[in-house]
Amino acid sequence: MSREDRLGWGLVAPALLWTAAFFVLPFLAMLALSFAHMEGREVVHGFSFGNYVKAFGDWSQLKALVNSIEITLTVTVLSVLLAWPLAATIAWSVPPRWQRAALLAAILPFWTSYVVRSYSWALVLGKTGVLNRGFGLIGLGPYEMASTRFATVIGFTHFFVMLLTLTIYANLVQLSPNYLRAAQDLGASRLRAFVHVILPLTLPGIVTGAFVTFTLCIGDYITPQILGGNNELTLPQLIMLQMGRGGNFPMASALSVILMAVVTLAYAACARWLRLDRL
């Protein structure tokens, strides 16, 4: 090994060791634990697929996965649909010298504490909250909006609209207006130019943002816990419940492995367009 190589390894080694010890090893331990089972309150190590069979065979467990996927897909689609026009308006309609300020303002609530942000939505959506007061003034409601899936979706969407606005905006400002002009010179209508030129060019930004949204959303415990009420559980809530109430680490591990598998599938589905390095 040359001096150069030794130096290179020496520089990379600490980070690699840290990742191996505190990321890879814990994951392997969790994977091994997911094949163990519980007898009473004791973990019995072994190799059985019992936890996985239960996770997919028992509707009370599978329902959590289904809920999580439904909520996450809804949030991802909704966030993209809301964020795209916002990013486009900032990029195209706001005068250049105000753009950074407009963008900064659009993501400022991003910096409120995550726990507090969900709590704030509970205040807004609650039965005595601001929104229901507003509805009351025009003779509507009150509606039960807090402690529902609706509240969870709103809480998530709020957070991810900010995130997506950022990634889509970054993509849009790199677009030269010449593309649109060229398409129109060649006789395309505004709509056609949009669908066939602008949209495909911003796809990497959209897909990257959507993937990050999907990953963060499906793994989040706080937002559904504060806003979702007790009627239904998401997968992270079920994981915490398994661990907390029964101390059932093997089941919690199996559910976590399933959660990771879902994210991996999502990654595979959009790998073509992903530009994680552009974040």
Binding site: D5, L7, G8, W9, L11, V12, P14, A15, W18, T19, F22, F23, L25, P26, F27, A29, M30, L33, L82, P85, L86, T89, I90, W92, S93, V94, A102, L104, A105, A106, L108, W111, T112, S113, Y114, V115, V116, Y119, S120, L123, V124, G129, V130, R133, H158, V161, T215, G219, D220, Y221, M240, M243, F249, A252, S253, S256, L259, M260, L276, D277
Partner: protein, 254 residues
């Protein structure tokens, strides 16, 4: 068309700022509940929060964990980025992939994995355990930012220093780090904000000494109170100021 897009802009901002506005307004509520009607302005909830020992201790813990873990993450990430950018090692693509990998795994799983291993090794939940977890989530970020910032311009400066007899440590300290200062600062502060606000890993890996998000979480469980609004508003104010100051600084430079 123009009018329509500005209408949309206004609606979007209303949606984005609605919860923050409600949070801040009702932190001044002169009453027991942070919901309408607004009963008058008082600062007593801020007073209560600022003299709350549990919250202030948790605030200190959060700062400690945030700055400590970000420092470690930045050091590890910077060295690794330097090593991988400078020396063509076999399997460097694989190593980059491994270093970035934690970014795509949810914090819950990282926390649960660490808890499993720590349990088996007999390590008790603590602020250090939480800090270790926070380095895991911030290392990919620091590495990626540093790696992306290393350019050819910098490589030639490093080579020049080496030709003039500088040791590797001197090159790192006097050439690479100063040239990368903006990227290093960005990576550090981004890490601090992520660690500062992180809940689930801290929740799983602390017990008696908790961080601010965990303390706020336990406040929530005792019901709605303007005190929660007050601490939330304070956290928001501090973070927003940091962001605006950073933005103005970067702007002045550019």
């Amino acid at each position: 068309m123009k009018r329509l897009s500005f209408l949309y802009l206004a609606l979007a901002y209303a949606f984005i700022f609605l919860p923050v506005a409600v949070l801040v307004v009702f932190s001044f509520q002169d009453g027991r509940l942070p919901v309408p009607p607004f009963q008058g302005v008082t600062l007593k909830w801020y007073e209560k929060v600022l003299s709350d020992e549990g919250l202030m201790t948790a605030l200190g813990h959060s700062a400690l964990v945030a700055f400590g873990s970000s420092g470690v993450a930045l050091a590890l990430g910077f060295l690794a980025a330097h090593g991988l950018a400078r020396v063509a090692l076999p399997g460097s693509l694989l190593m980059r992939g491994l270093l970035i990998a934690p970014m795509t795994v949810s914090y819950l799983i990282i926390g649960l994995g660490l808890l499993t291993v720590f349990n088996q090794a007999g390590i008790k939940p603590s602020l250090v355990a939480t800090g270790i977890g926070h380095v895991v989530i911030n290392l990919p970020l620091c590495f990626a930012i540093c790696f992306a910032a290393m350019g050819d311009h910098q490589k030639s400066a490093e080579r020049a220093a080496r030709d003039l007899g500088a040791s590797e440590v001197q090159v790192l300290w006097h050439i690479s780090a100063p040239m990368l200062a903006p990227a290093l600062a960005a990576a550090f502060f981004l890490s601090v904000t992520f660690s500062w606000d992180e809940f689930i890993i801290a929740f799983l890996l602390t017990r008696f000494e908790v961080t601010l998000p965990v303390e706020i979480w336990s406040m929530l469980r005792s019901g709605l109170s303007p005190a929660t609004n007050a601490i939330g508003s304070l956290v928001f104010l501090v973070s927003a100021l940091v962001v605006i100051v950073l933005e103005t600084l970067m702007r002045r430079k550019a």
